[in-house]
Symmetry: C2
Subunit: 128 residues, 2 copies
DNA sequence: CTTGTAAATGCGAATAATTCGCATTTAGGA
DNA sequence: TCCTAAATGCGAATTATTCGCATTTACAAG
């Protein structure tokens, strides 16, 4: 079972309310008046990850960012060229995950919050 | 335009033939008799990424791993507990990507090769 | 086939990200 | 209230990634 601590509550709330995935360093900066160490943040995120409370992925600059999992998680389209993001507003993977569960009895944890690609604007600009 | 070099061809072939995503260090180890630097490998992977030749994601131990993109790319289910992988054998995201393109004119680059979750075996074992 | 030049690479150092060890504190069950 | 395993702070160690600069190379132009 998971102990309820100040550090964990703070980090979970940050992630719940954030409109984008956060790195350990991001969280550290946001909590810098709270006397919480970077190593604790890393450990907390790791614990959350193992308990399926958060998902993680590589951001475009190669740091790892975390998002809250669960029912009302979000998804973003991020352009690899201009890095603008579009809030998808829904999870496009529900059906896929159900199919995977039916076929393989494999329970997918929601993740892959950032969906990378090329936005309309960059596409028409670069191919012209 | 992208120059054709020995380093690039070697790395591309490795990724094409690999049955799992590879880290920069993995590639370095596999090519250690070829006199290629780690920094070149990083630069090459970065170039490939920007040109949509490879996709990248965070592996379970927080290093970044790369996979070849394109028509015959693969997908794997990886259990967060035992780390066993299952080859999905097809891309479950084609339809989703098409829908996203229709709605947002956003061209998703294939990625998210590793799909994390809990496998049947670990699930029945841990919940018992 | 030569030559010029921008791009790619090797090398090694610098930086940034992540993990670890250990002493201290704390949550929560007994 | 007490006990103990788990969580945290602190700082050092390790690992991953990036950078600067000199040298080499792909390839387009002549």
């Amino acid at each position: 079972m998971l102990k309820k601590t100040k550090t964990r509550e703070l980090i979970k709330n940050l992630l719940k309310n954030s409109s984008s995935p956060l790195s350990a360093q991001d969280i550290f900066n946001l909590l810098k008046d709270q006397n919480i160490t970077l190593s604790s943040i890393y450990r907390t995120l790791d614990t959350f990850y193992k308990n399926n409370i958060v998902s993680k992925e590589s951001s475009h600059d190669n740091t790892i960012v975390y998002s809250i999992s669960g029912d009302n998680h979000k998804h973003y389209l991020e352009c690899k060229i201009c890095h603008k993001t579009i809030d998808l507003g829904f999870c496009p993977y529900h059906k896929v995950n159900e199919q995977i569960f039916k076929k393989h009895k494999f329970l997918v944890n929601e993740h892959n919050v950032i969906i990378y690609g090329i936005c309309d604007n960059c596409n028409t600009t670069t191919t012209k």
